[in-house]
Amino acid sequence: MLMAGNQDKWGSRVGLVLAMAGNAVGFGNFLRFPVQAVQNGGGAFIIPYLVSFLVMGIPLLFIEWSSGRFAGKSGNHSAPSIMDSMDKRWIWKYVGVFGIFSNIAIAAYYCYMESWTISYVIHSLIGTFDSMNQSQVAHFFSDYLDVTTSTTGIPYEAIVMFVLCLALNTYILSRGLMDGVEKVAKIGVPLLIGFGIFLAIKGITLKASAGGAINDGTVGLNFLWTPDFTSLSNPKVWLAAAGQIFFTLSVGMGSIQCYASYVRKNQDIALNAMSAGWMNEFVEIVLGSAIIIPIAIGYLGIDKVVELTQIGGLGLGFRTMPFLFEQWGPILSAVAGAAFFGMLFFAGITSSLAMGTPGISFLMDEFRWTRKNAALSFGIIILLLGLPTIFFFNEGVFDEYDYWAGTVSLVVFALFESILFAWIFGMKKGWREITSGADIKVPLVYKYIIKFVTPVALIIVFLGALVRPANDDWSLLSFKGWTLHNESIIGQLQHKGIGPNNTWFSDEFYTENNGTVDSLYSVKNKSYVVITGANDNGAEQSKTYKFNPQKHQLNVTLGQDIITGDKLYSGKVVNRVFYLDMARVLLVSVFLFICALVYVAYKNRSRKEIAK
């Protein structure tokens, strides 16, 4: 047994449950869940979603809480040592690297999103969005993401806000669990629920014709909750539901194990896990479904909102909601804007603090770092890793981090940990860990679900992501092969869908869509070409290309018909694929670096064992 100097503990049980709930509740509860529901059968989405929660979510919560408490008894608080304490074969501690890596990589872009919410609270309160039209509000977000543009007069505003947000996270983490994380959870979780209830009431009670609304709020609820039962036979819906359970519960990350490792050895984990898990479901299902969709459909109508959900929840939240709040008058819009982005901020910070804890615990346990130094190193690493997502946001670096660290890593790690727990650590010991000290009777059926159903469900989810077919048409599957979806794991590895600009560097840039050049314009020393045409589904779609007239020679003229692959401009070009590959190199480097640290840590452990 290796006792570490890291003897932090939770101050209270309520604080622990709120911190765990805060870890789970994030941006996805309000921005991703309703969009997923709209895109996957409305009310019928909830059926596979709840099934996934019961057979995958709850079992993984039990696995992670009990593994954490088990390993915490011997002073192990981070995923590599938690997994190592369950099975001494060398491979597990390196599998555990996922449990530090994904937290660091996700925090790098998550803290950036968190900084947007701080900025949007300020802008809502000072009335920046007053008198802006919908297009201007949408452009405001694009301007904010462009680091060279300032929306407040502060130069490099996006970076300044990111650094401030990181400093806040670092400070709270440096205060420890009881005085930092737990205090924030006790304030933040009730506040975000309060803000959520206020906005949900506003959304549900929205009346058509009030302040320009064209629909009652109930029209949005009707749209969201009307079940399309035929969607239940579509594997896409089931995989989307399972994916949402991962995102929403923060399972497969290593943060739950880390928090649970600080639970006292005789304390319940079964009831705590259920309480935190269901609290997350309350925020997601009850509040998350009653805010952006009812309000957006109230003002914009169903067709427009369906179109907007194609660009995802983030776009809907940041490009559209401030404009909709403006319809409520200057005072109420300031209150609603501050409540909405404040809610997102608290949802974000309670999650990002959980992402910081595994890395800090690792440094404290294995290298005897002080909490302050470990927290500071977390802040610096996140800053360095986060800057590429800020500078190269439009080149896809942000999305690349999200795909590999925030999606694929979670599934891989959850799959390994469920196999380790159920089949190697063993269900006999595992069940004893889950039920030891339990304040509720855990249904015996979970012993079998954890052993058989959960690993199989995770294998299906992983394989589904690996070979996802084009257009999510699972009838394409055949022994002769099928066309892969651009976002399947294999498709991503092959840069499928990258288009004609598929080399790192080039002397020419080619158009990536068919259509007609419908505008050429310059704003703030930047020049743009807009090509509008029909997409694969026949709907009109525009794509805007930025170029630098000082470096590039434009090869198209206004009104010209274009097909994909036509030369748009000549001159030195660094293509998007270069940034994507560099992001991958960076992520792999971080993973290998943590592997090296784990190797050194275990060499140190061996030396100390021999010295004893």
């Binding site: 449950v17 909750w225 304390q267 259920m274 509720i440």
Partner: protein, 39 residues
């Protein structure tokens, strides 16, 4: 709202609210174990 949507929404939300309330109430009211200086 149409009846199916209303039934779907009310049944799911009431279930979630009751379970959330029940588990959190249990957390608040369960007695600390001996040797556990929590709460």
């Amino acid at each position: 709202m149409n009846t199916t949507a209303l039934i779907m929404m009310v049944s799911v939300e009431v279930t979630v609210i009751l379970l959330t309330g029940y588990f959190f109430y249990k957390v608040l009211t369960s007695r600390p174990k001996s040797g556990d200086e929590d709460d």
